[in-house]
Amino acid sequence: MSTDTSKSSPERQSDTMDRRSFIKWCAIGWSAFAAVIGGYGALLLRYLFPNVLFEPKQSFRAGVPSEYTTGEVSERFKDLYGVWIVRDSEKIYALSTVCTHLGCTPNWMPSETKFKCPCHGSGFYKTGIHFEGPAPRPLERFKIGLNDEGEIVIDKTRKFQQEKGEWSDPESYLLA
């Protein structure tokens, strides 16, 4: 029945918050809020990177060396994996089909024995060395090796750049 008598009672005063604890609770509250928002931000960022990619594998088997003719550029794996396999008199190597200018896909012109990029006209020799157009460096080569069955295995996660002197690396070619 008592109406609002508690307001003036002495134990009511202990409920009020002093300045120091108000600031403390503000700091805790805002820190927790910032942590939650930051956590959501991190989750959102992670969300953009799926665990499974429905893309061709980065590593693939490319048949046995005898399937490749000396002096020819094989376009067998160009569309699926973005790789040309070239065999010259000494070795077999895997060239990336990504133009080093801006990332278009050049075409292999057998009659002119060169790779020609349709976007801005960069030209590359069969070795991958650039000789015309705006491309600043040669095409990249991928890691190439043989598995136990004698099949060629190409690993696109390892790349070899001529301008860094990496084409002499034994993993960048197969001796034919």
Partner: protein, 265 residues
């Protein structure tokens, strides 16, 4: 109240009905200056406009109306864009065919061209608006923050252009976005091909590689494919328009709050 109140016309009668007074918060007959002001202030659409304008503000010679035209073109793009979404499917299998279908077979197939040309036009009008604002010195205080908002809106317009570029899914689209997204791959530290990326590694484990860098986040894949088409579509139709509208609201509001359209000094 007025002399001829006994022979009021049909319009005045309608303005006294409950229906009219319920919809328009400034009900009744508008007679005083205060009431005219209230008509603008009490309406959600009108209140974006100033109650009064300086004479120079309506001179086309001074403003070129480029800001207004940019907004108009944006509205055209919104309407035509929504209409295009009824037919366009953002998948590798259907996208190109649907765009051809929109042009060749759908009645009023000009809709796609209207959207495309308006998009080009918006870049031009936004640029000319910026040029005008620069030439009239309208970026100076107190309008300096609205200039910053304007620059953000320019960037957002460019991003709308960029994301829309991929959607026809023709050779031009794919290679243009390939070239454009490779720039993201060259971002310092965040791009796999960028400077500093190789520093973010522990031993042989690279944290920034072709499936974890800024370019990947943009494309949803290692190359321009299904993931890129869908991400660009969602950004083009929902994400960027949402952001651009928020900045547009602030931009228009600040034009008024910073003292209206700047005048010749």
């Amino acid at each position: 109240m007025t002399q001829d109140s006994n022979k009021e016309n049909l319009g005045d009668k309608f303005k006294k009905t409950q229906v009219f007074r319920a919809i328009f918060r400034t009900g009744g007959i508008i007679e005083t200056h205060k009431q005219r002001v209230l008509v603008t202030l009490n309406n959600v659409f009108l209140h974006l406009h100033p109650v009064r304008l300086p004479k120079h503000a309506v001179k086309v010679k001074y403003t070129w109306c480029m800001g207004g035209l940019s907004f108009f073109v944006f509205l055209v793009l919104t309407v035509t864009g929504i209409l295009l979404m009824f037919y366009y499917r953002p998948t590798v299998e259907y996208a190109y065919g649907d765009v051809i279908d929109l042009q060749e077979q759908v009645p009023l197939g000009i809709m796609r061209e209207v959207h495309r040309w308006s998009a080009h036009l918006m870049v031009i009008t936004v640029w000319l608006h910026m040029f005008r604002v620069f030439m009239t010195g309208s970026y100076k205080p107190p309008r300096e923050f609205n200039w910053v908002i304007g620059v953000i809106l320019l960037v957002l317009t460019m991003l709308m252009s960029f994301t829309g570029y991929l959607l026809p899914w023709d050779q031009l689209a794919i290679w243009a976005i390939t070239v454009g997204s490779n720039m993201a791959g060259a971002t310092p530290f965040l791009g796999a091909a960028g400077p500093g990326a190789s520093l973010l590694a522990i031993g042989d484990v690279n944290f920034v590689h072709s499936a974890s860098d800024a370019r990947f986040a943009m494309l949803g894949g290692r190359f321009v494919g299904e993931g890129a088409l869908l991400r660009f579509y969602v950004l083009h139709c929902i994400g960027l328009p949402f952001v651009i509208m928020i900045f547009m609201i602030v931009h228009f509001w600040r034009v008024r709050k910073d003292g209206g359209i700047s005048g010749p000094t």
